[in-house]
Amino acid sequence: MSALPILGVWLGGIALNVWLARINTRLSRGLIAAVFGLTLILLWEMAVRIYQIPTVILPAPSQIAASFAANRSILWTDFVQTILRGALMGWVIGAFAAILTAIAIDRSPFLQRGLLPIGNFVAALPIVGIAPILVMWFGFDWQSKAAVVVVMVFFPILVNMVAGLKATDALQRDLMASWAAPYGASLWKLRLPAAMPFLFNGLKITTTLALIGAIVAEFFGSPTRGMGFRISTAVGRLDLPLVWAEIVVAALAGTLFYGIVALAEKKVTFWHPSQRG
């Protein structure tokens, strides 16, 4: 009997979406995604209440929202420590290092042929594993977290940037040569712009990696603030709503971070086919 309202909401959500799918506008597409998400949250809340699932296992969305509102100052300190200091600093340093390395090895086919397979190999490895080592070397504060992030984002960006620098075709390079453009000019005016879609691909992939690196590194030691620290201690105190509030912050930060990079991509690579329509 108690499953009836849940079933009702679920079927209602599906019916609403089927109806919305017949109208094909920008607004209706956004609405469909929103309805799907809202239905999920509603089902979650109802399931927790009707079956009386203990908070320790799965808190209801309303409890998470209450905890979020009550702990705003804690969440903000953690956000600054982990996201702004650890993840963002590491990401910026790692991205710059990777871009500069890619440009540096661009003129040497020998180095490229040697570094690229290794870079591809390293990009597939479980690099988070170096977190305990780097925490040992750089101490507990945000510097060690930034170092982990630097290592994690370096190779994916490097591999993409090197591929991007090769993305010009012979016709375009010949045109530059026929204008007697020096290396610097052809790099700046042709090859760097042409590399941008690839570079942004790497930058977008690594936004999530940066957050993961910064948070996971905190499990191996951290000062008494930070999202990883808060998650592990709150789990110990069985304060699950706070844990979920941190997860909400991480999700929002991740989406925002990705969104900003995607927006920058739209502005910079407006000419690329993938940005049309």
């Binding site: 799918a21 469909i32 799907f36 296992i57 594993g129 040992m136 957050l211 997860i247």
Partner: protein
């Protein structure tokens, strides 16, 4: 956002040629040399300290040889790591708790279970998305959004919570591995199932082929190259997920637990050997899928 993910330019897959061997070896050699120099530099402080306390003057050669044979070096030298790896693999019985083979097996079984679940889920969702507009519009944006959530970071929490409900062992780790591996499969399969162009679909229609025939005889075969490319990403992601899932205190088995206990007790050689064991495992798994890919695709005449 969906389109951006699906149409993003991909770095071209690199094939190894025999001519690449020399450059790769050179770069590897440089890395090993830098590693040795780093090991000497980073371990020297402790040796100097010890010598100063004992009131002994160390010659340079003595200092170098000591920095490369420490028990708990800041940075173990390559040969120490190789030795630790060898002892962990060959020096122990396979069932021993100190055997890296045993730990790798624990990690591998959870990885494969999660990879299986994630792949199945990704394929089923992709088939649904390709055939139903409602699913495409409602699931796809959330699948993309789900990947901006740093799930890996909350993996230890998932393990602890599941353990408090009584779910322990392989399943919690497999769930995290599955979550990480379903997305690449989903995106690759959606792209792959949509590769048949209008002409091919029209041909099927002119034979009045039902939807199931279109799926089995046209869509599925043409999606396989995309599927295999995603599987390689997915299995690497599944391995990372499993290792991080082994991090929370209390886990005693698996490469992740090895990393954690090594970091607690300052056993740097143990950390580095576990790290390299994980790297080798990842490389073997990716290579294995590459092998299956080549066999299947060449049998189907799709190999490029």
């Amino acid at each position: 956002m969906t389109d951006a993910v699906l149409n993003a330019p991909q770095a071209r897959r690199l094939r190894l040629h025999t001519g690449d061997l020399l450059p790769i070896l050179t770069v590897l050699l440089v890395i090993v040399a830098v590693w040795y120099l780093g090991a000497i530099r980073m371990n020297a402080a402790w040796e100097r300290d010890q010598a100063a306390r004992a009131g002994v003057q160390l010659t340079t050669s003595e200092l170098v040889s000591r920095t490369l044979t420490q028990d708990r070096p800041v940075l173990p030298a390559p040969h120490q790591v190789a030795q630790g790896l060898w002892e962990g693999v060959a020096g122990q019985a396979v069932t021993s708790r100190r055997s890296l083979v045993w730990h790798a097996w624990v990690t591998l079984s959870a990885t494969l279970a999660g990879f299986g679940i994630g792949t199945a889920l990704g394929i089923v969702l992709a088939v649904g998305i390709v055939h139903s507009r409602v699913m495409d519009l409602s699931v796809m944006p959330w699948a993309v959004a789900s990947q901006t959530v740093p799930i890996l970071a909350i993996a230890p929490m998932v393990i602890v919570v599941l353990a408090s409900v009584g779910v322990t062992g392989l399943l919690p780790k497999a769930i995290i591995a599955a979550w990480l591996s379903f997305f690449p499969v989903l995106v690759g399969m959606v792209k792959g199932l949509r590769t048949p162009d209008g002409m091919q679909l029209d041909l099927m229609r002119s034979w009045s082929a039902p939807k199931t025939r279109v799926f089995w005889n046209l869509r599925l075969p043409s999606s396989l190259p995309y599927l295999f490319a995603s599987l390689k990403v997915a299995i690497a992601a599944a391995l990372v997920g499993t290792i991080v899932g082994e991090l929370p205190a209390g886990a005693t088995a698996g490469l992740g637990a090895r990393l954690l206990s090594g970091s607690y007790y300052g056993q740097t050689v143990q950390i580095w050997s576990a790290l390299f064991a994980a790297a080798i495992l990842a490389a073997v798994l990716v290579a294995l899928i590459g092998l299956i890919e080549r066999t299947v695709l060449s049998r189907m005449g799709l190999a490029r």
